[in-house]
């Protein structure tokens, strides 16, 4: 599973992506965020702000109850600020 980070999430973590293999019980985005939080202090700092974080699965915006699969590309980011 590929995880991509943008904006201040990337800045805090110091990485723009990582490949992970969460256990099978990590079925949706909410659970994945809680699982990722435990990976490091930096991860904890990022995912504590979960209310400010948006998410996509395979480049589709999703809500945090959405199911995830092993080969998904999942991205975490703040609200968009284009234009």
């Amino acid at each position: 599973m590929k995880i991509i980070y943008f904006s201040w999430l990337k800045e805090i973590l110091g990485i723009s992506e990582e490949n992970i293999k969460p256990p099978k019980e990590i079925k949706n985005i909410n659970l994945l965020m809680k699982w990722l939080e435990k990976r490091s202090i930096k991860h904890k700092k990022v995912f504590l702000k979960s209310k400010s974080i948006r998410c996509s699965i395979n480049q589709q915006i999703v809500n945090k109850n959405s199911k995830i699969k092993q080969n998904d590309e999942i991205a975490f980011f703040p609200p968009f600020t284009g234009g």
């Binding site: 991509i4 943008f6 904006s7 201040w8 990337k10 800045e11 996509s56 480049q59 915006i61 991205a75 980011f77 703040p78 609200p79 968009f80 600020t81 284009g82 234009g83």
Partner: protein, 130 residues
């Protein structure tokens, strides 16, 4: 081409990097984007606008990377038979790019990085994705 397509109205929007905000003078903007998804989202809104407002043509350009104050950030051009449709489509697309396309602005002010926050008023305008 204009004649062939029966175009009666062309609306162009250009968004320009401003030199300052409340925190001070901006040295430059850094625009991050989600490669792949960006292109997909821009194509989606283009397709939607062409159909909804019966556009003859629609051009959307959004820069990313380093942008200095005074430089163009984004361009939206729409052409339609009637002006109302060209205006509505152009405004919709730029509203969409603000809140539904995966871009993030960072302002560099005195060597500090400021992650620009999205405006709630902008988010409300485009209530749902299509």
């Amino acid at each position: 081409m204009l004649i062939k397509k029966g175009i009666g109205a062309v609306v162009n929007f250009t968004g320009i990097a401003r030199p300052a905000n409340n925190s001070g003078n901006i040295e430059h903007l850094e625009i991050e984007h989600y490669a792949g998804m960006t292109e997909k989202k821009i194509k989606e809104v283009e397709k939607y606008a062409l159909k909804k407002w019966l556009l003859n043509t629609c051009i959307i350009i959004h820069r990313y990377g380093k942008i200095k104050p005074g430089e163009n950030i984004v361009y939206v051009g729409t052409a339609a038979k009637h002006r109302k449709n060209a205006f509505k489509a152009c405004e919709y697309i730029i509203d969409y790019l603000k809140v539904r396309a995966p871009f993030w602005k960072i302002e560099k002010i005195k060597n500090k990085k400021i992650f620009v926050k999205s405006k709630k008023e902008d988010e409300k305008k485009i209530k749902k994705s299509f």
